[in-house]
């Protein structure tokens, strides 16, 4: 790919730089009585890392994903993404941060029906101001990267579950974000397809992408170099290289 477009991946952070950091982050929902979903969570993710955030249902994983992805703000504590202090950013600035620095992969894929795989991936760059032709050009490269070069013009919703998740992953990666947050990316897939997706994630990480996978599945988490265990809104463990 010889695109002249500047992509976010690699700049301005260097290897070892902190892409994302959470410092004593809490999140309380103002229900009666108030529900504390996160209670003082702190950790850092460095550029190029592949991290699993593991926890059972109701442990606060999704809340953590939303806060890491700047879709929600913490009640207290500080979140830094790609060097930007989230608490100091307006809603518009957070949108800009997500458009250029954060990629999302969801369990339900969230692909637009009636659109081709190519256009679904190109939509990953929709809010960056890149013209459609260039978006498609970049999307084609990313689809090739996830092994779907032969599916560019297929309606995304007619693809198999595994293929759909690959399209969703390509969409998250197409802008070259500083960090990709994947929420239960294998949750809707059979075990064989799950393995293939895990392999893809490992391969993408090896090529330089920073990826955080949120999962309830310890077996999947065990594939990744680092696991952050979460339970009842608190970090239970944070281990490297399968040291548990």
């Amino acid at each position: 790919m010889t695109s002249t477009l500047t992509r976010g991946r690699g700049a301005p952070l260097g290897p070892g730089d902190v892409v994302l950091s959470l410092a004593n982050v809490t999140k309380e929902y103002p229900t009666i009585p108030p529900v504390r979903a996160l209670g003082g969570v702190s950790f850092e993710i460095q550029r190029g890392e592949l991290v699993a955030v593991v926890g059972p249902s109701g442990s606060g994983k999704s809340t953590l994903l939303h806060i890491m992805g700047t879709l929600d703000r913490p009640t207290s504590g500080e979140v830094m993404v790609a060097g930007h202090r989230v608490s100091q950013l307006s809603d518009r600035a957070l949108s800009a941060l997500r458009a250029r620095h954060i990629g999302f992969v969801f369990q339900q894929f969230f692909l637009l029906s009636g659109y081709t795989a190519l256009d679904n991936v190109a939509d990953g760059l929709l809010y960056t101001g890149i013209p459609l032709a260039s978006r498609r050009e970049l999307a084609a490269v990313e689809l090739e990267n996830v092994g779907l070069a032969h599916r560019l013009d297929h309606d995304a919703t007619t693809l198999s579950g595994g293929e759909r998740q690959r399209v969703a992953i390509a969409r998250a990666l197409v802008g070259g974000p500083d960090i990709v947050l994947a929420d239960e990316p294998t949750g809707n897939l059979d075990s064989k397809t799950s393995d293939a997706i895990v392999e893809l994630i490992e391969r993408l990480s090896a090529s330089g992408s920073t990826i955080v996978v949120i999962t309830h599945n310890h077996e999947i988490a065990s594939h990744f170099p680092r696991s952050v265990g979460i339970r009842d809104g608190r970090i239970e463990y944070d281990e490297l290289n399968g040291a548990r």
Binding site: P12, D17, R92, F110, L112
Partner: protein, 399 residues
């Protein structure tokens, strides 16, 4: 380490593209909601088009007939005299300066039948009128067949039939010798008239010359009505003096009319209907707008996950709002353009049917599309605000 954040940006073409997502993925629903607006706009464009086309037809008609024709007749009714004008009324009227032409009509006490075997009671409502030979000219009438009376034929037992009279007598052409039984003798039909726009009474009459009426039908030729063509610039002035001129003794027994007033009055009545139909069109448009609002509200609820996804992809609240407002505008625009085309089509078809020229005012076309867009904007505003304000986490959670 942190770079300056470049704001999220959505190109205009992409706004249109995202706005069409709902339309492309829910085609039937989009078509039905656009249909509501389409009917409203079509009704309004059609009503304005038909009204304008018929008006232009009327103007052409008035132009052809002239608005300077006046009729003078003896006032009917209780206590209003003999029902006849003075014998010299025509001469007196002709002396009024701006009067260009007069033509007298005298009612003959006779009936006309297809032949002498028809019972006398079955006159078919056809009257016999003695007329001046310049009547056709005065009334700007035309012949359907044959010729009108002239100085020669007016003295002989010949007749020209009005359109309705000819129809009732079963005479549609005058080739060969067509005879009718008129006043107990045979009269030759020399012509059949086209319908008179301004004097329908003559459509139901058999017209004979004044001389023939006196000779064969024993008519006194006292005018029952006089048709007057006045200088168009002085029509009102002439109207003001006609009654007193026709019958100086009893001007109150004279009735003066301008027949084109009736056409104009008919048009005014049509205008009232136009207003009514425009009102109905507006109601249809409003209902169409409510339909769009309804569809958009449902769409926002159904597409929470898409809203969540777009926020995750970097859309601002404004981008999401613009997408849904754009969708409502697109639906309304489709309905508006479709409505204008439909309204124009209906107008053209009906105008052709009536022999009018199609005339849809440009303001109706532009107004139709603008009205649709305004309705779309109003209808889409609330759903768009609702979509924009939806929290991304809530939107994703319900996906």
């Amino acid at each position: 380490m942190a770079t300056t954040l470049t704001p999220s940006k959505l190109h205009v073409a992409d706004v249109a593209r995202t706005a069409s997502v709902g339309l492309r993925t829910r085609k039937m629903r989009a078509a039905l909601s656009a249909l509501g607006i389409m009917i409203g706009i079509a009704a309004m464009v059609g009503v304005l088009g038909l009204s304008e086309s018929s008006k232009s037809d009327l103007l052409a008609q008035l132009d052809k007939l002239g608005t300077n024709l006046l009729t003078v007749q003896a006032g009917g009714g209780i206590g209003l005299g003999s029902g006849e004008l003075p014998a010299d009324a025509g001469v007196m009227i002709a002396r009024i300066g701006p009067v260009e032409q007069t033509s007298s009509v005298s009612e003959v006490d006779a009936n006309v039948y297809k032949n002498d075997l028809v019972p006398s009671g079955q006159s078919g409502g056809i009257t016999v009128q003695a007329v001046d030979v310049n009547l056709l000219d005065t009334l700007a009438g035309a012949m359907a067949d044959g010729v009108f009376l002239n100085d020669v034929t007016a003295a002989y037992p010949t007749t020209v039939l009005g359109a309705v009279a000819a129809d009732r007598l079963g005479i549609d052409d005058v080739t060969g010798t067509q005879l009718v039984w008129l006043g107990d003798q045979w009269f030759t039909v020399i012509g059949v008239l086209d319908a008179f726009e301004l004097n329908p009474d003559l459509d139901r009459a058999a017209l004979v010359g004044m001389d023939a009426a006196a000779t064969y039908l024993d008519n006194d030729n006292v005018p029952s009505s006089i048709l007057v063509r006045a200088n168009p610039r002085f029509v009102d002035n002439v109207m003001g003096v006609l009654a007193a001129t026709a019958n100086p003794q009893n001007p109150e027994e004279v009735e003066v009319d301008r027949p084109t007033d009736a056409l104009e009055a008919r048009e005014a009545a049509d205008d009232a209907f136009t207003a009514l139909f425009l009102g109905l069109g507006a109601v249809a448009l409003l209902v169409g707008g409510v339909g769009i609002a309804n569809v958009m509200v449902i769409s926002v609820l159904e597409r929470r996950s898409e809203i969540g996804l777009r926020r995750a992809l970097g859309a601002t609240k404004r981008h999401v709002g613009m997408q849904f407002l754009g969708e409502a505008l697109l639906l309304a625009a489709i309905g508006g353009v479709g409505g204008v085309l439909l309204g124009y089509g209906v107008t053209t078809a009906y105008a052709n049917l009536r022999g009018w020229s199609t005339l849809v005012p440009p303001i109706a076309i532009a107004g139709g599309v603008v009205a649709a867009l305004v309705i779309g904007a109003v209808a889409g505003l609330y759903p768009a605000i609702r979509a924009a304000r939806m929290s991304p986490t809530e939107a994703l959670r319900t996906g």
